[in-house]
């Protein structure tokens, strides 16, 4: 765990670019999410939050493994999670050439394609999904606010995370 400059905790996991390790990243996110949710009193709200978290982390990490880190890459995939009382910020990084994230279209839901759902699911279930390319790393950053009714007043805005 790394204490960052804004006083928020950052947890980080690195794993080799193989789908076999994606579930490790998912469990890492779920464990962190459980800590984030510990002041929520509704079990269903926690369950729903963690289900979404597991799904989007699986999608982002699978994409990073399959489409990101090159087969000959020695660079691991990195998942970094930060949170405060209001939101979790999940960043998934793979070392590769940049791509045009904004041009990724939603799947044709009327024709039920066999792939292409990953980014759509991230965009659907998260409050924010952004892409950047930083020092050779593709970075997908996703923000999920704490479930409604549990947000604390007077906390720092999401933009400060």
């Amino acid at each position: 765990m790394i204490e960052n400059k804004t006083g928020m905790d950052t947890l980080e996991l690195t794993f080799p670019p193989s789908t076999r390790y994606v579930r490790v990243a998912v469990q890492f996110a779920a464990s962190t999410g459980a800590i984030f949710c510990r002041d929520i009193t509704e079990p269903d709200a926690i369950k729903e939050f963690l289900s979404v978290l597991e799904l989007v982390v699986s999608e982002a990490c699978t994409n990073a493994v399959k489409h990101g880190s090159r087969k000959d890459s020695t660079k691991d995939v990195i998942i970094q999670i930060r949170f405060d009382e209001q939101a979790m910020v999940i960043k998934v990084k793979d070392f590769n050439e940049p791509f045009d994230f904004a041009s990724i279209k939603d799947p044709d839901l009327e024709n039920h394609p066999e792939n292409g759902y990953g980014v759509f699911l991230m965009r659907s279930f998260m409050n924010e999904v952004n892409y950047t390319h930083e020092d050779g790393w593709n970075c997908i950053t996703m923000v999920k606010k704490k479930p409604a009714g549990e947000e604390r007043q007077g906390q720092a805005p999401l933009s400060s995370l």
Binding site: T19, R20, V22, R23, V26, K47, S51, E54, L55, S58, E59, T62, V65, K66, P107, L109, E110, H112, P113, E114, N115, Y117, G118, F120, L121, S124, F125
Partner: protein
Amino acid sequence: MPIHSSQTGNITQVQIEDRLEADTAQEFRDAMAQLADAGKIMLVLDFSKVSFMDSSGLGCIVSALRQFRQKDGDIKLACITDDIRPLIEIVRLNRVFDIYDSVEEAVKSFD
């Protein structure tokens, strides 16, 4: 990936006991292909023990459905858990799959 199958008449019930994700997708695809090749094309997929599914899992079941329907078969889904239901619904797979609360109902629906 533990996949258990049993037969009721010409209906094959398949229970998956694992996560359905990128790492297990190929094993599931292989199991579906084996059933299709064996002519077992009337299938009930029991999701009661699937704790997690992502888009790789979605792709698998869509692919299997196409494969089975091409052979004049069908796949019905049973016992979708609350963890997975939102995923199924947001990609509108509930419009292409018949979904039942129990395996028994799904089996009967083939009558």
